[in-house]
């Protein structure tokens, strides 16, 4: 019976298949079985705080730091990033293609073009709120053109697709979405590459001082494994539709 390490993670790492790719490698090297639950970022952090898992893989740096500060989590290490992109219908009714993110957001608000928001306090949603601030547009809570789904990334993209709306997504999920549409999706990338669009993933261990039962040693082994060069290389090599999804940046 292999020792079991429990991890809470966000849906993006699971839905893209990254974990299915890494877990067997980890088991082969360390003999540790990784079991993960993929949930919203907020819920993942809450599970960590309660000591229901041993380790976290999430992407909401600001909130992560709050949890570290409060003493719930320790040993935060950056692992990799991907980036956010603004997507929308190929016809691009608001004409945002090629603009900076801040300008694009402003134009969307001015033209009251349909924008679909996750509105679920996820990493992506937090990033979107940051973009509105950057564009100096108040969060358009009750506007007709602002659709708040409160759902995961893929369902939110689907809603945008059905409604011909714009939305913000992480690149990984978008590639998955492209794949689902056999590479010919109704929505396309319109804005990308801005520095503010970086989406940072980190691993964190649950603080053993609060929870004596957790497998802290296994969590440390996992964190070490994730940041070591061979693993980092493997992450970089993980591809979907021949596209790289995550960019390793441990120690940077």
């Amino acid at each position: 019976n292999a020792p079991v390490l429990r991890m809470a993670t966000t849906t993006s790492t699971d839905n893209t298949g990254l974990l299915d790719y890494l877990a067997p490698l980890f088991k082969a090297e360390t003999g540790i079985e990784l079991q993960w639950v993929s949930v919203g970022t907020g819920k993942a952090l809450e599970l960590g705080k309660n000591g229901d898992v041993d380790v976290l893989l999430v992407h909401a740096p600001a909130v992560e730091l709050q949890f570290v500060e409060a003493g719930h989590l320790v040993n935060r290490r950056q692992v990799m990033y991907n980036d956010f992109v603004v997507i929308g219908p190929a016809s691009d009714p608001a004409g945002i293609k090629g603009k900076t993110v801040a300008e694009a957001m402003k134009v969307i608000a001015e033209k009251k073009a349909l924008f679909v928001s996750r509105a679920d306090k996820s990493g992506t949603h937090t990033a979107e709120l940051g973009l509105w601030e950057e564009a100096q547009v108040p969060v358009p809570d009750k506007e007709q053109w602002y659709v708040q789904t409160g759902q995961g990334m893929l369902p939110t993209i689907n809603i945008a697709g059905e409604r011909d709306g714009y939305t913000l997504t992480d690149r990984g999920t978008f590639i998955k979405y492209e794949a689902n549409h056999d590479g010919n999706p109704p929505l396309v990338i319109l804005v990308e590459g801005d520095a503010v669009l970086r989406n940072q993933y980190s691993v964190l261990a649950v603080n053993p001082a609060n929870h004596s039962h957790i497998a802290y040693d296994l969590a440390l082994k996992y964190i070490d494994w994730m940041v070591k060069p061979e693993t980092q290389k493997a992450i970089g090599e993980f591809k979907l539709m021949n596209k790289q999804l995550f960019f390793p940046n441990a120690g940077k």
């Binding site: 907020g42 599970l47 996820s122 809570d141 009750k142 708040q148 789904t149 409160g150 759902q151 059905e162």
Partner: protein, 231 residues
């Protein structure tokens, strides 16, 4: 444990402060569940009567199929309805996706097997002498159906209550078809799912309590009706 206590205090807070978001969800829930359950009863009770009353070839198979459909998960219903009403689907033109009507279609599919199976069983349990009495008094097929259902009224009511509980508590269809769009298609259950996903467990429980309060009020009404029908 803390979440539960927290849930209670949040729930009271939401109700006392007449929180706008909460009330929007409550109202949406009531609208769609009422539409769904009445449609289900309208279709399901006659079908349940036929299934429980008539001895037609293939009846046993039909019952087994209905019983099987009791196990239809809401996500699957959501997917099936989505396949029809999405823009790429055959009914895409009707614009039912992300609308309460669309949700109601899915919820009717959800409640129908319950209403049909329980109505059929209620009708089946009736005394054989009832049929004979109605026929000897000259009932035609319509009179027979109506009077039989009236005799089985308490059991049919339980079918309705069970169906209603199922509809009001479901989340998969509302999420998939309604889209959980704030101020539009967000129901209490999709709001609970959202809060839970955010890790706001207390708020999730609070909304759960609001939903139960709603169901309680409906059931007190039903129980009152039922009492009047007995006395």
């Amino acid at each position: 444990m803390d979440y539960i206590l927290e849930g209670f205090s949040i729930a009271i807070g939401l109700l006392l402060s007449a929180d706008e978001e909460t009330f929007s969800a409550v109202f949406t829930t009531l609208r769609v569940s009422t539409l769904s359950i009445f449609t289900s009863l309208l279709i399901g009770i006659p079908l349940g009567f036929i299934l429980g009353y008539h001895h037609f070839p293939g009846r046993r198979l039909a019952r087994t199929v209905v019983d099987t459909l009791l196990a239809l998960p809401t996500v699957v219903i959501g997917l099936l309805v989505y396949a029809f009403i999405s823009r790429r689907g055959p009914l895409g033109e009707l614009g039912l996706l992300f609308s309460l009507k669309g949700v109601a279609i899915g919820q009717v599919i959800l409640a129908l097997p319950i209403v049909i199976a329980l109505t059929a069983s209620a009708v089946e349990e009736l005394d054989e002498r009832l049929r004979q009495t109605l026929l000897t008094l000259g009932a035609d097929s319509k009179g027979l159906a109506l009077s039989t259902l009236w005799e089985a009224r308490y059991a049919v009511l339980i079918a309705a209550i069970t169906g209603y509980g199922r509809v009001i508590s479901e989340v998969g269809i509302s999420m998939m078809i309604g889209g959980n769009i704030k101020w539009h298609t967000r129901t209490i259950t999709t709001a609970i799912a959202l809060e839970t996903g955010k890790g706001q467990f207390g708020a999730g429980i609070a909304l759960g309590l609001v939903l139960l309060a709603l169901a309680f009020i409906v059931n007190v009404g039903v129980s009152f009706l039922r009492r009047r029908a007995t006395a």
